[in-house]
């Protein structure tokens, strides 16, 4: 295969991935009111519109609130679970891992409809608590996977050393293990937040008017005429996503630096 042809095809695919997003971002800064080029002028009027709107602004707060709480819950449950899975063996581990990872593969529409049915009788439909709990369940596998990956670089001999020095298992985990895997835990929390920030189907089915999140409002805004405020909302979501991507990249680089430093010091390194 010709190298030139390969480059041509690869670059085209990369452009295909980027072009739609790059094409719509400048439109949100338009001074006009049509989603077309050339822009009649540059202004922030659609962003002002966004922040003055009681359709969008509560949705932004809801997204941040639900995402933050769901991420905290998923991280609080997922981090010890990952540590436990890391120490477990055999069939019990396979079953536990299967349950933990299931939310990643089960189609989200099934989750949404099932939760609508289950949350109804217990009064969790159209509540913040219901949406947070649902998003935490969807985000938890990402925390577990990320923390498990960072535990691969952790030497379990240190736990025995801690035990020999008189630390209980909880203390050993908190004082010896947790500081070393902290970047992984933080990355997992960011993944869980991003999962909630992206999620729209569960929000469509179980959120009430008071819980509408940004993607949920975008979905509603897309069903009829697309406004430039919707474009501004899209641009803000893109900005948030890029921010999260950078945070994760930074955390992973930190985790790598740490494990290199440890390898250099550890007598077991080859």
């Amino acid at each position: 295969m010709g190298r030139g042809l390969l480059w041509g095809a690869g670059v085209l695919a990369a452009l295909f991935l980027l072009a739609p997003i790059v094409a719509i971002l400048p439109l949100s800064f338009s001074a006009g009111s049509f989603l077309l080029y050339p822009l009649p002028g540059v202004s922030l009027r659609w962003y002002r519109d966004f922040f003055a709107s009681d359709f969008w602004l509560p949705a932004l707060w809801n997204s941040l609130l639900v995402g933050g709480a769901a991420s905290a819950l998923a991280t609080a449950l997922g981090t010890p679970a990952a540590f436990g899975l890391w120490r477990m063996r055999g069939a019990a581990r396979a079953v536990a891992l299967g349950v933990v990872l299931a939310p990643m593969v089960v189609p989200v529409i099934v989750v949404a409809v099932a939760l609508l049915l289950a949350f109804g009788p217990v009064g969790l439909v159209a509540t913040h608590a219901g949406l947070i709990v649902a998003h935490a369940a969807l985000g938890a596998p990402f925390v577990v996977v990320t923390v498990l990956a960072s535990l691969e670089g952790f030497d379990p001999v240190q736990l025995r050393a801690a035990a020999a020095c008189g630390a209980g298992p909880v203390r050993a985990f908190l004082r010896v293990c947790l500081p070393q895997i902290a970047p992984g835990v933080a990355a997992g929390a960011v993944f869980a937040f991003a999962t909630s920030l992206d999620e729209v189907v569960v929000a469509l089915f179980i959120a009430g008017p008071a819980q509408r999140t940004l993607p949920r409002q975008m979905f509603a805004g897309l069903n009829d005429q697309i406004s430039l405020t919707t474009a501004a909302a899209a641009a803000m979501l893109v900005g948030l996503s890029v921010l999260l991507l950078l945070v994760v990249a930074w955390l992973q680089a930190r985790a790598r630096r740490r494990s290199h430093a440890r390898d250099a010091l550890s007598p077991r390194s080859s």
Partner: protein, 392 residues
């Protein structure tokens, strides 16, 4: 830390997922294989029909049981009666009206056989199929919803047959969902291969830039990416405007609300899931092996076919299954970019759960969807191997 201690650490998350994920989904899917609306309302009728063979109108005993059941339900459980009527209506259109009407007509005491009174209320009851519908709905376990999800039903004698041609919906929906997912997977593989190869083999900033081009959309919200395609493809969208400005078209092209738009946007959304496993597979490839093959006299395409391809096959399979599994469950993108004939299984699950409140059918469709996904996950497990992560 001891093993029981480790298991204890996973307990909070497992219990949480059991309560918020496993149990709700289990309870929902259970509705797809059970039938609970009719038996509590028409217990005597169900019992009277137990020994009936379904070939001819049942005897007086069944009619008398029906009258007794309808009188009791009309007086004591009108909501249950309405629900039973709705359920029977799903099997045999007309029951939604037939059951309450018959109940009203036989409510007052009458002389003579129940058979005559019921048949006077509605001639429908002379048809064995009406009684068959009640018998099939007796539950508690029932294949009714699953059969319905495959466009099948039982007749009065109990044999399974396809529903009439003009009432078939779900086979086409299932075939469409599989076809769209397959098409999207194929397109992703075609587009993803050269991109992944470059990322795996190029050095320096071009490789970094290409990887960033994959990672960035990967992180951006699915709704935003779908919205971007709407802005591009709508009637007064960027693509039509650009084509018109270049003088290539006179009237706007219908680029949206069709299959093309759905597949295009889905490929865009799922492409990173293809590229990343491919990159991993290509990076693990020993670059000297194709060269060794060449030095042994293999032509480049032969070396590719016999050396490179087999070595990458697990990675390719993993990427394809990852894309296919996710494509099967798509809801948002077809709902926004597709027309009525481009909606996939997920849309029908949502529709039957909320707008037509037929949980049994929604659950049966979900079972189909999960079965397809489960099959793919099992395949993925064999191909990629669920690698044991964790230290010894």
């Amino acid at each position: 830390m001891s093993r029981p201690g480790a298991a204890l650490l996973t307990a909070p998350l497992l219990l949480f997922l059991l309560a918020t994920f496993v149990a709700p989904i289990g309870a929902f899917l259970w509705r797809g294989v059970t039938d609970t609306e009719v038996a509590p309302v028409l217990p005597r009728t169900v019992a009277a029909l137990a020994a009936w063979d379904g070939t001819a109108t049942p005897g007086e005993e069944a009619f008398a049981a029906l009258v007794a059941d309808l009188r009791a339900a009309r007086a004591g459980n009108p909501t249950g009666l309405a629900r039973a009527a709705a359920r029977l209506n799903a099997d045999r259109p007309g029951f939604r009206g037939l059951l309450p009407t018959t109940a009203r007509r036989v409510a007052a005491p009458f002389e003579g056989p129940a058979r005559d009174a019921v048949l006077a209320a509605s001639g429908e009851w002379a048809d064995p199929e009406a009684w068959g519908a009640i018998r099939h709905a007796a539950g508690p376990l029932s294949a009714f919803h699953l059969l319905a999800a495959l466009d099948l039903r039982r007749d009065a004698t109990g044999s399974v047959a396809p529903v009439p041609e003009d009432q078939r919906i779900f086979r086409a929906v299932l075939a469409r969902s599989l076809w769209i997912s397959l098409l999207v997977t194929g397109c992703c593989l075609l587009l993803g291969w050269p991109l992944a190869w470059l990322i795996a083999t190029a050095r320096g900033w071009p490789a970094t830039l290409l990887l960033a081009a994959v990672m960035l959309p990967f992180w951006i919200s699915l709704v935003v990416r779908t919205a971007a395609w709407m802005v591009l493809l709508q009637r007064e969208g960027l693509v039509n405007a650009a084509l018109a400005a270049m003088g290539l078209i006179e009237a706007p092209l219908p680029l949206m609300l069709n299959r093309f738009a759905v597949v295009l946007a889905m490929v865009h959304i799922l492409l990173p899931f293809m590229v990343l496993p491919l990159v991993a597979a290509f990076r693990a490839l020993d670059p000297f092996l194709p060269r060794a093959a060449a030095s042994l006299g293999a032509a480049p395409w032969w070396a590719f076919l016999r050396v490179t391809l087999p070595l990458c096959l697990p990675g390719i399979g993993a990427g394809c299954l990852l894309v296919f599994i996710q494509a099967l469950g798509f809801y948002v993108t077809p709902a926004l970019l597709g027309g009525p004939n481009d909606q996939m299984l997920a849309w029908f699950v949502g529709f039957y759960a909320t707008r037509s409140v037929n949980w049994g059918l929604a659950a049966a469709l979900s079972i189909l969807l999960l079965a397809a996904v489960g099959l793919c996950v099992a395949l993925y497990g064999r191909l990629a191997g669920f690698r044991r992560s964790g230290a010894a």
